[in-house]
């Protein structure tokens, strides 16, 4: 029963996506870009589950069709290879996000809470949020259990020190369209303004360009 329901879910997702008029190939492009952005950005980026689900829908669609194709058919091996490529892309993307969530769990949850309070869009998807909360809970539980053996007063200051992503790390960025007035901050608090042409590539601190990634004006490479 479960599988049937899932398949229907997938189909409805697909039709939703078609309304915004993306071909499968375009979705794949978007997924690749999201994958690279997530890979190189130091912080977690707004999730792209609409793309992920659309691509997963494509995968199960192709899989279904493959059952009718003979084993020695050339089509089969090519489709199979492509499926493997797509699966790699999606799972690598999801795994990278989980890794970030595990590393920065306290910080990310705090940010997500602030976002909810301000009524902003959450960066994590529902399931990721659930995972993050469960992960934090077991981490807390683990520390409580272990610190139980601590002689004397149990230290608590460490809890105030969050592990946060280093948003100053340097990234390679490619401008997708013309961007004027990128502020590059220098150490002596001077700022320099740089204009980027379409397609130009630059090595720059993420803190100066993070918002261009989120607003889809440029991508990381």
């Amino acid at each position: 029963m479960d599988t049937v329901e899932n398949a229907e879910d997938v189909q409805s997702d697909e039709s939703e996506y078609e309304e915004i008029a993306h071909t499968a190939a375009e979705v794949l492009e978007l997924m690749e870009e999201a994958w690279l952005n997530e890979k190189f950005a130091p912080e977690i980026l707004p999730h792209k589950y609409d793309i992920v689900e659309c691509l997963l829908g494509q995968i199960s669609h192709v899989e279904e069709n493959l059952t009718n194709v003979g084993n020695d058919d050339l089509r089969r091996s090519l489709h199979q290879m492509e499926l493997d490529r797509l699966r790699y892309l999606v799972s690598s993307y999801l795994r990278m996000r989980l890794e970030k969530i595990e590393t920065y769990v306290y910080f990310i949850l705090k940010q997500e809470e602030e976002r909810s309070q301000k009524g902003e869009e959450n960066y994590l998807n529902k399931n990721e949020l659930e995972f993050a909360k469960a992960y934090m809970q077991s981490l807390d539980q683990h520390f409580t259990d272990r610190l139980h053996f601590w002689p004397g007063n149990i230290p608590t200051e460490w809890k105030n020190q969050l592990i946060i992503p280093n948003i100053h790390s340097f990234v390679f960025m490619k401008a997708k369209n013309e961007i004027e007035g990128v502020m590059v901050s220098h150490v002596n608090e001077e700022e320099e303004v740089v204009d980027l042409r379409t397609g130009s590539q630059i090595l720059i601190s993420y803190s100066n360009v993070g918002h261009f990634i989120k607003t889809n004006q440029s991508c990381l490479i």
């Binding site: 190939a25 691509l55 089509r75 090519l78 390679f172 150490v187 590539q201 630059i202 090595l203 601190s205």
Partner: protein, 198 residues
Amino acid sequence: MNPEEVEFLGEKQLISIIPTFNSSTIHLVSGDIGPFRASLPVNVPLWVAVNLKQQRKCKIQPPDWMDVEQLELLKEAEKASRNFVKMPSEHYMIEGKLLLSIATDDIARADEVRTIIKDIWDIRMAKLRSSVNTLITGKSYGNVDNLTIMEINSMRPLIPHAMDQIHRMKMERPRFSTPSQSTSLGLLNSSTVISTFK
């Protein structure tokens, strides 16, 4: 990113093949390929071409730039220019490596092509290494126009990290003169917190 992942990205580049079989259009997620008619050229992604070639189901038509004369010109241009010359393909190294390893019989003067591509790569990498110094001592950003993904990737483990460390060291200094930044935590703690926060 490891080189295999760069290759993964490069493999979607289209390339022309001459199939030795017949088949109707294949609807891949990344786009339709075919129809295949024996001895009529058709464009397919590189990974399909590699796969078909390995099954001996096609001949590969090397891209226009994979030609000794053109590559020689490119090499001279690269030598003469102080900046990086735009490469004929965003993934020239990957295409070169893959095609020269599986389709040597389809490429004219394959050994010479291989040597020149390697030369161009070496020239560019040497340029890259010598520009690292200006990059690190100079501004807090650097232009990397015309560098291909593979080249960018080869400097990824070192340069962004080095620039980040320099940035951290520069940020450390002013703090000692402004004690107002220290928080209720011990000085040592606050410095770690601030240096990561900034």
